[in-house]
Amino acid sequence: MRRPVKRSQKKKRFFLLMLAVLLLTAPGCWRGRELNARSFVTAVAFDLPTEEGADPDEFLLSIQVPIPAKMAGEGGDQGGDGKPFVVYGTTTKMVTTGIRQLQRQLDRELFFGHTHLILFNVEVAKAIGVDRLLDYFKRDYRVQRRARIAVIDGEAREILKLEPPISQTPAAYIENLLSGQSASGINYISDFGRFLVEQGDVGFDPVLPRVSKGKETALTGGGAVIKNGKFVGWLENNETRALNILLNQKIVSIYEVKCPLHPQEEIVVRTTGFGSRYRLNNQNGRTVMQIRVGGQFETVEFTDQHGPLATIQDDLEKTVSAAVRAEIEQVIQKAQELGADILGVGRRLQALKHDLWQAMDWEREFPAFPIEVEVDMEWTMTVRRFGG
């Protein structure tokens, strides 16, 4: 009778031991770091060094770190000149070395898991290249693919020092500006993950949003064309809008067009529902890319005394279509001038006419590749008021 009792006791002991092991491991903690032992880097900026005679391979790495006590409105004396964040900078050749140098000034571990913004001064993007500087962030698993990247027309570090005009965190302010929520259509909406995918795509050159410093705020609009990892040229606001239309980015925007009845007067239209369809056609032995763009608009403001009129419908649709087409042709021309296939024509050729693609030297042929555009805008009226 004693043996079974012993066996059951042994089982119980073993079960308790296993339970203890599981309890110890269940919290999943190892070398846990308290929140107050970490500095959360919300934004990173790259500029050229300010010192004269600096090594051409060096760059100025700046980071923005929020001060939690000040963000919560408690004040305190933790630097930052009364701002809820502090910006640190160092000159370096490698991002990792720069982070180590910055770490020497801080008693908390720098943590990049909450980095929402990575900004590049245009000169750095041109000289060293965006791709080269992003290498560290590509390899750090903690960095989010949804972090926003932008090229700064001016000093990137200065953008980090801007305080948001309406209460929110500084990085969130720029992040929101770079998102599509402004509904202006002139921002190129991208993020770290999208940039990596576009950079990897054959026959496609990526674009990053442009940011510049206004008087007291940051200004968005426009795009930076990146080729082989480096900046090659800017896209203006209307060119960026046209690119968004071509890339089916579902933008909403406004256009100012001449009134068909009174050319000296203007009508503002709100455009939406854009869709671009691509077709590779053979015309007289030449392959031509035909792009058909469709969309809708509604009239939102008139400088003339008359409001929406049924008689101007056809002419207004033609006028708006022409305005959209003019912008699209402008961005195509800019892309071909820069020799950067930001439209993804090469990607379509590579995917759909692969034999032809293989026979081509795309770098050489893209600037002269025939691209035809047709635009058909439709007036979808939601009339609330006739007359002035």
Binding site: M18, V21, T25, W30, G193, R194, V197, D201
Partner: protein, 365 residues
């Protein structure tokens, strides 16, 4: 032969095949497929899956012919003493090596994302103890645990894949089978992909526990078809989202896919961490079933009393093996070796055993 307690139903057997097949391999499978077949990598996953489903059918039919025995017992009768012994050793070795590889994958996942500095003895050690404890139990308990865990992992995985559709670009899947994008020189990667598919041999060890052995073939074929569909859809989505160029540059594509998802309205902002936590379940079921197969095989080979003794005795060896897979390149190389063993088992031994069983007609069915 002692009559085993028949406690498993066909659904549980299908889930056992899924539980063993869906593990760490899927996290890296799209990269391997893209390296060999470029934008059409998903198609080779489908073709390989269907090929191994044929193997699953053979394994099912073979198992049905010997419903009272495992392959360890009847293979020496069919192949002869020495070839049978060789087969048994290859069979046991291939399953044994799966455990340290899965442990190593877990260690990397945990170090990459959850606990960057957690040492091997802590992460791998505790995982191995949990595997050994689980594998020392009876098959009905193992099947129940597997049933729960693999369903959680699959549901979360499919949820991630579905949400990732927001970034899907059909052009990324073209050109279709273009010669310049196919790299036959990387055939070892192709062999490595077998690591993800060859889960059906597990059936050869569980058939004596199946309530109705006649359901073996449908259950194992169903399991393999499901694995094939899951892997094909997953590879298709990954290639559509990232394009083949970016896919080949990523080591843990599944995690990157989860990271790319943007659902601001939902509190689950870090879906990659949710995926990792649930995928630990999938790693566990693979290692757990491998542990059971190894211990049950050794028990039957040496006519031991309990399979639990075997798995606990193997713990130091498995731990040592997991520590020699020092980095990604080492464990992926070993996974190719293991996959090669599974290819030998699936493509050579199983058809041979089935043909011999038909010829000798010494099955019970």
């Amino acid at each position: 032969m002692k009559q085993e307690k028949r406690s498993l139903d066909a659904r549980q057997v299908t889930l056992v095949v899924l539980g063993f097949g869906i593990g760490g391999g899927i996290l890296t499978l799209p990269s391997l497929a893209a390296k060999v077949f470029g934008a059409s990598g998903w198609l080779i996953v489908l073709v390989l899956g269907l090929f191994y489903t044929g193997g699953a059918w053979i394994a099912g039919r073979l198992a049905e012919r010997f419903p009272e025995e495992t392959i360890i017992e009847y293979s020496p009768r069919l192949l002869g003493k020495y070839l049978g012994l060789l087969f048994n050793l290859i069979f046991i070795t291939s399953f044994l090596l799966v455990i340290p590889i899965e442990i190593r994958i877990l260690q990397e996942l945990v170090n990459i994302s959850l606990l960057p500095d957690a040492p091997i003895w802590f992460v791998s050690g505790s995982f191995l103890l949990a595997i050994a404890y689980g594998a020392s139990r009876q098959i009905d308990q193992i099947a129940q645990v597997n049933e729960l865990l693999i369903e959680i992992a699959i549901i979360v995985g499919l949820f991630v894949v579905l949400l990732a559709m927001q970034h899907f670009e059909p052009l990324h899947l073209l050109p279709f089978f273009s010669k310049d994008l196919i790299h036959p020189d990387k055939v070892n990667e192709l062999v490595g992909m077998a690591f993800s598919f060859a889960s059906f041999p597990v059936i050869s060890m569980v058939v004596p526990y199946l309530r109705n052995p006649r359901q073996t073939t449908p259950a194992v074929v169903k399991g393999n078809i499901f694995i094939t569909l899951v892997y094909t859809i997953f590879t298709l989505i990954v290639l559509g989202v990232f394009g083949y160029q970016e896919t080949t540059k990523l080591s843990w594509v599944a995690l990157e896919l989860a990271k790319s998802i943007n659902i601001e309205a939902v509190i689950l902002e870090r879906l990659d961490l949710v995926l990792i936590v649930s995928w630990i379940s999938a790693l566990y079921t693979t290692a757990l079933l491998a542990g059971f197969v190894v211990s049950a095989s050794v028990k039957r080979m040496f006519k031991l009393k309990k399979h639990a003794y075997v798995i606990w005795a193997l713990v130091p060896l498995v731990y040592y093996l997991s520590t020699i897979f020092t980095n990604y390149f080492v464990w992926t190389r070993w996974s190719v070796y293991v996959a090669a063993l599974f290819v030998v088992i699936s493509v050579f031994f199983y058809p041979l055993l089935y043909l011999l069983s038909l010829r000798k007609g010494n099955g019970h069915a």
